[in-house]
Symmetry: C2
Subunit: 412 residues, 2 copies
């Protein structure tokens, strides 16, 4: 018998009615002959409420207690989902993370899954259970404390179960109907993709397309779990949503799959940096220690033993980066004349596995931006991605222009 994993996010289980609606979808898959593992998030808003209480109680909280508190929302949904399925006469029961037990590292608040034993649950399926409902986002550490996987961790839970149980597919039900060529709020020409490669999805996820948590895509890629993103609010359709799959399962595709953006970026430039070996480590070591997520890095050509070093980071980390750099300078580990921060920038990227075999994508991108009069501040590239930093006020314009340039409104 084939096993399917279905994950329902917070908005898909926000009310008892929505839980019933989700349960009906589960029921249809059971009727289709599948055994199903359902992963549920907390009802929409619940986790934020709990996180708020923890923060208000204790600004520098014990992460173990944080996890014990915030994991409770998923437990409620899991029980209610099991009850709803039972009402539909579908044999179901709920599992909390520690009951599976879904074993994790002890990194509270951001734990990584280390093991999902399958025998006990497998035995229940063999005894006639049709649906196992699992509270997402949580696990248990070697010390027997409750852990959580970090925000969006339920996606990761779902993919991990799909891998452990060798599921035919992992369906992620959410409040959007799939992965788009870009954000439909920015251009109405944005088109839903039927399929997207893992690598592309990874770049899009990490670039700010908030459909799937990056870690879940990484995990799916590693274990070759077919991942489908679809809306729990649309009428059901065999081909609904977007399938995230291996490259060779995508028959034909555009050179560029999508245009992603990240609005809240900052560009920091260190002027007059002494250009000597080890200077990069001297800069980025302290930044990493200070918890600054450095993204793009550009080093200008050295002139007379001095160079400028530019990097980007989230705009809310600028103060932290500034402090780290001033301290490093005072400590004498680096030297620079001035730190200049530009907090009004955004990042726009084009992503596509087709770039590997198609030259000229970068040229077309730069041409398109030039035609719109948009100045490029920083460029970085990878095998399947080209990102540019531009003035934030041009972000929407850039996304629209690039979407047109690469004709993303047309299927590949």
């Amino acid at each position: 018998m084939s096993l399917l994993v279905m994950k329902f996010g917070g908005t898909s289980v926000a009310t008892l009615d929505r839980i019933r609606r989700a349960a009906k979808r589960v029921g249809r898959e059971v009727a289709n002959g599948h055994e199903v593992i359902v992963i549920v998030s907390a009802m929409s808003g619940k986790t934020n409420e709990l996180v708020g209480w923890v923060g208000e109680t204790s600004p520098f909280y014990d992460a173990r207690e944080y996890d014990a508190v915030v994991s409770s929302g998923e437990n409620v949904t899991a029980g209610l989902m099991a009850l709803t399925l039972q009402e539909m006469e579908i044999p179901a029961r709920s599992w909390q993370g520690w009951q599976v037990p879904l074993r994790t590292t002890g990194a509270h608040g951001a734990a990584r899954i280390t093991e999902i034993p399958t025998e006990a649950m497998r035995g229940r399926f063999d005894d006639g259970m049709k649906v196992a409902v699992v509270a997402g986002f949580q696990g248990i550490s070697a010390e027997g404390r409750i852990t959580t996987l970090g925000r969006g961790g339920s996606d990761t839970t779902a993919v991990a179960f799909a891998a452990a149980f060798d599921a035919i597919r992992c369906d992620i039900y959410t409040d959007v109907d799939g992965v788009y060529t870009t954000d439909p709020r920015i251009t109405s020409k944005a088109r839903k993709l039927d399929r997207i490669a893992f690598e592309e999805m990874l770049e899009l996820a990490s670039l700010g397309a908030k459909v799937l948590q990056t870690r879940s895509v990484e995990l799916a890629m590693r274990y070759k779990v077919k991942l489908r993103v679809l809306s729990s609010f649309d009428e059901y359709d065999e081909n609904a949503g977007t399938l995230v799959c291996e490259e060779d399962e995508i028959m034909e595709s555009n050179v560029v799959a999508g245009v992603a953006y990240s609005r809240d970026e900052a560009k920091i430039t260190l002027l007059g940096v002494a250009d000597r070996p080890g200077i990069a480590a001297g800069i980025f070591g302290p930044l990493a220690e200070a918890g600054v997520n450095v993204d793009m890095i550009v080093q200008n050509i050295s002139e007379q033993g001095e160079t400028d070093m530019t990097f980007s980071c989230p705009v809310d980390q600028v103060a932290r980066a500034d402090r780290a750099m001033q301290q490093a300078r005072e400590a004498g580990s680096i030297g620079f004349s001035e730190l200049v921060a530009d907090t009004e920038v955004a990042k726009v990227s084009v992503v596509g596995i087709g770039m590997r075999s198609h030259a000229g994508v970068a040229a077309r991108m730069f041409q398109s931006l030039r035609d719109e009069g948009i100045n490029i501040k920083v460029i970085t590239t990878s095998e399947i991605k080209i990102s540019v930093l531009i003035d934030r006020k041009y972000m929407e314009l850039a996304v629209q222009a690039l979407h047109d340039t690469f004709e993303l409104e047309k299927a590949g």
Copy 2:
């Protein structure tokens, strides 16, 4: 080092501010040199919300899923309390029922505690932990499912921990400042008792004085756990609240300790019952099977081979009792001519261990009711209690009259 158990009910932890207030009381006991096990309920209203969701989802719910859902409220409070104590620099951690593990029977929704292992928690105290915060009301079955102990189960959790850890006392913090001679809403003469014997408290608890769950008092009596009920809202005072203790710890006392009442009673009379051996079993067997909680029973003197049988039960169980009796008659297991139900009655009781050695309490009670013109419908007595069933409209009057008659406004 002496260990104290402190239990905080839902109203005492209803908000973050109230949790802080409760934590301060815990902090004071730590400063006094105690190790403390804190038992917490869910924030006021949370359990009702969860119970409502379960009922709405599934009218005939799977009690295992019910328990998984409704137990989550206590987990939130336990984590928040531990964090609050940590903020006060008191070494504390939270335990959920399965982490202790507090082992129970598999009777979901009304499980009984079978074991509380103390070694692990004891070890943490020995390592310097000052406060163990335990989520009340919940445990784990032999099958590894979450169980709950039934409404008010956190009191039972607290007493069980006090027994297991040989605590010097179990303080139950609630929204009333102790046990009263009767409900202060009925007579302003009601007086708080400084001490009350376990047996008296048991009778008062089961008669509807909702201060402590009956089971917790039974457990405290069996294991000789000193139980103190006090308000979490009053200023602290060494002698605050009411101490529930053994009879010989009460120096002097009134003959009658208190007047209890139960408003929603019904009286059912079966007329023309054939008076033959086994008829009581023929009646009360089917009632028990139907889940009717029969309280008082009176059999009238037999006339010409027929008798009348009268019993009382909660008013909302009358329809169930009627159905059970009609079915038993149709099945031929009992015979009666008519079932008459009086749904407008209330029970009023006087309770006191002094009755054992003082004659005439019943006579004074009946006299007092007669002086008020209140007709007694049914009487039952135990060693330390006399209960009467009367018209509900006279209930307050009866309580006031009995309170005056036994001079309960004066300390014994």
